[in-house]
């Protein structure tokens, strides 16, 4: 069953907070839900499908639907890390196409900034986690599992720290127009490469922000979307994939976007050259570069040249990427960047991005998410969305 034009995004909301010391995670979920439903012109009583990832508080979807007063006939708590929310959009479209729900609500929230999480501590997920024994106790933290991929990309393809820095520069040029962005000051290539090393070759400014907050999306049946007040955004194609260590011989040169991207483009019947705006998961600069290659925006190994010289700056370069400032400058709520990637693509397709970064005649957008660790195992999801 193709998902092409089987569901629409009718509501989207990014929580304006970046530091929520006095709010619970459940409260943030509920505020995001309210914001997205208000945006769509719907109410909690209209929701009959609910989606959250495995990090939702309490017993996940059971606690959240109880907390928010939702009576769902379909729930899904698929967790593929930061890419979960793209997977949820695709799964919501499947459920709608199968008649299992009509109005699907997807929420994300978290408070890693208040909790003091930085991603530099080797954190495990318990003694039963398969990788706990073989990476984490021996010094692997989140940053270094991306740094290894960056180091290998440099070794294999001659990519430079300055090329990676251009990805951050583009994000900062967009974030200066976003009043809610955590980092609003434009930076230069030199600023990035002279910032402290976190895990070689990734510097502090190659890393995303740590922020509290969240977001929500409402996915509905196309017939319903046409009767709501907001400009319609329609799902054209979706793909999801996982990549792991491949039996202990991890290949660091590519991500699972190679597979999720191909599936999404095939379903949508479009090409990378048709895409007017792209939200690309930016946990680190290297994440963007590798995904752009794997999605086919440029050849493998050419990513460094592709992103250089302002190429990702809206109105300046060849492809506008992350015009809200992305995770690198704007927001990375709950250490999961997929939700905000979808929301900025919706803004672009509605023509509601900041005028300084709005892509002219933005009719087709791509959303790319990864979750987990680029250097070991991760999930990837790709959405292709059209205006109207």
């Amino acid at each position: 069953m193709s998902l092409k034009r089987r569901a629409c995004i009718a509501g989207a909301f990014e929580h304006p907070t970046r530091l929520a010391r006095d709010k619970s995670v459940a409260q943030l979920h509920a505020e995001c839900a309210r914001g997205a439903l208000d945006d769509a012109g719907l109410s909690m009583a209209d929701v009959d499908g609910y989606f959250c990832a495995g990090d939702a508080p309490g017993m996940g979807p059971l606690s959240m639907v109880d907390y928010m007063g939702i009576k769902p006939r379909h729930v899904d708590s698929t967790d593929t890390g930061g890419s979960s929310y793209l997977v949820h959009v695709a799964h919501a479209a499947q459920a709608i196409a199968a008649g299992k729900c009509d109005v699907a609500l997807i929420t994300l929230a978290g408070r890693p900034r208040s909790a003091g999480s930085s991603g530099t501590a080797p954190t495990g997920w318990g003694a039963d986690t398969p990788d706990h024994a073989f990476e984490l106790p021996f010094g692997a933290n989140t940053v270094n599992m991306y740094a290894l991929a960056a180091a290998r990309h440099m070794h294999e393809f001659g990519t430079t720290a300055e090329q990676l820095a251009w990805i951050k520069v583009a994000a900062s040029e967009h974030a200066k127009h976003n009043p809610n962005a955590m980092l609003r000051d434009p930076v230069t290539v030199r600023d990035v490469v002279e910032s402290p090393l976190i895990a070689d070759p990734l510097h502090r400014l190659d890393c995303c922000v740590v922020s509290d907050g969240g977001g929500a999306i409402v996915v509905v049946r196309p017939e319903l979307a046409r009767n709501l007040k907001r400009p319609v955004v329609t799902l054209l194609g979706a793909g999801e994939a996982c990549k792991g260590l491949d039996g202990g011989r991890v290949d660091l040169s590519y991500s699972a976007a190679r597979f999720s991207g191909r599936a999404a483009f095939e379903e949508a019947g479009v090409l990378p050259s048709d895409v007017r705006y792209a939200s690309i998961y930016d946990s680190f600069t290297i994440t963007v570069l590798v995904q752009l290659e794997d999605l086919g925006f440029c050849a493998k190994g050419e990513g460094g040249r592709f992103v250089s010289d302002g190429a990702l700056i809206s109105g300046v370069g060849r492809l506008a990427v992350n015009t809200d400032g992305g995770g690198l400058c704007n927001n990375h709520p709950a250490n999961r960047g997929g939700m905000t990637k979808i929301i900025e693509a919706v803004r672009q397709l509605r023509g509601e991005a900041h005028p300084a970064v709005q892509v002219r005649d933005c009719a087709l957008a791509l959303v790319q998410g990864t979750g987990g660790r680029l250097g070991s195992r991760h999930g990837s999801a790709t959405l292709i969305l059209e205006r109207g």
């Binding site: 010094g139 290894l148 895990a199 990734l202």
Partner: protein
């Protein structure tokens, strides 16, 4: 953090030295680290155990400059290719300046350079 229980089957003595052990899949021939019960390539369960060579070569490495309290920074971590096939992650007892891709390293056991965990395997630089 002490050595994880799941590693006990992957560290043992052979020919008077302590060695890393891997699983060899009789079905597809894949050599998998650590010793497991399912082949990650073909899903087969007919596995036997074999010792890995004491040396391998660096596939990719990074120096970690920000870590949790109690970890001595900078410390180097690497993915190391063993001749039998597995690509294994661990710390390296070397200065960042001494590191390069392809360099030979040797497996060692005990407390690694970052000082954590207290019992692990790690790599030392092997004269090339």
């Amino acid at each position: 953090m002490s050595r994880p229980p799941a590693l006990e089957r992957s560290i043992a003595s052979v020919d008077g030295r302590t060695a890393l052990f891997a699983s060899h899949c009789r079905g597809c021939g894949r050599v998998l680290f650590p010793v497991g019960s399912v082949c990650a390539q073909c899903g087969g369960a007919d596995l036997d155990r074999q010792a890995l060579s004491p040396t391998g070569s660096v596939f990719a490495w990074t120096a970690v400059h920000r870590a949790a309290p109690g970890w001595k920074v900078p410390y180097v971590v690497a993915l190391v290719d063993f001749p039998e096939g597995p690509r294994i992650f661990a710390q390296v007892d070397a200065a960042p300046e001494a590191m390069r891709s392809g360099m030979p390293v040797r497996v060692a056991f005990g407390r690694p350079p970052a000082g954590q965990p207290d019992d692990a395997y790690y790599f030392t630089v092997e004269p090339s």
